[in-house]
Amino acid sequence: MAMATSNKTFVLEHKIYLNETNAVGGVAYFSNYIKWQGMAREEYFIVTVPVWQEIVKEVSYGKVNMITVEEHSHFIQHAYFGDTIVISLQTANIRTFSFDMIFFMTNKTTNQLLYEGLQRLAFDDFKGRFVPIPPAMLESVKDYKADLSVLKFTKLKQYFNSQGF
């Protein structure tokens, strides 16, 4: 289930299936967290950017390309087959050509924090030249901007501090 909440945190729920666990103890394999970042990111664009289909067309025409330039993950607690995780997404570090997405993933039943992560998205013209964030997307990105002073990070706060935020 995906919804855009009133406090401007985008939330997506996901149930973990067997094919997302590793061979040891039914624990969610680490690379799935990156996959879940991607799922949440795509759902966020679909739900919050009214003209997302136009932007996808621009990408298919080779006019604008969205690039993941950086990704950080901090794995805190295990998730298991059958768990439902709640993925929350907000934005940060909004600049001309890029912005960050911050992810927290919690166990829906226990509310335990499982994971925090971040990715930096940039835009170019397919010819190696960076271009500004598409205006229609920028509006939504600003709407979901995180207040970093109230977010409770464990490891990522060190990253943000090192970036001067």
């Binding site: 330039v69 600049r95 001309t96 050509f97 890029s98 930096r120 940039a122 030249r129 960076f130 090192s162 970036q163 001067g164």
Partner: protein, 85 residues
């Protein structure tokens, strides 16, 4: 605006974009090697220079830039007579 003032403006841009301390910036600082900029940072820095100094760094300029001093040389050359040595 003299070269010192130009340096101060550029240093402010570099501090803001790269989260480095101003004391760590010198004219011989390699923007990539010493200050840690990547290609995205360079694009943002070029945009900030354009906003602050009304000069659009060309592709040729960007290829030439290695150090902070290189940027100052380019700006000094292209912003004359606005910039005095």
């Amino acid at each position: 605006m003299d070269r010192t003032e130009l340096y101060d403006k550029l240093a402010g841009i570099l501090v803001d974009q790269l989260s480095v301390k101003k004391e760590s910036i010198t004219e011989t600082s390699l923007i990539v090697g010493d200050l840690g900029a990547d290609s995205l940072d360079m694009a943002e820095i070029a945009m900030k220079i354009k906003d602050a100094l009304d000069y659009d760094l060309t592709d040729e300029d960007m290829k030439r830039i290695q150090t902070v001093g290189d940027v100052l040389d380019i700006l000094q050359k292209n912003l004359e007579p606005k910039v005095r040595a």
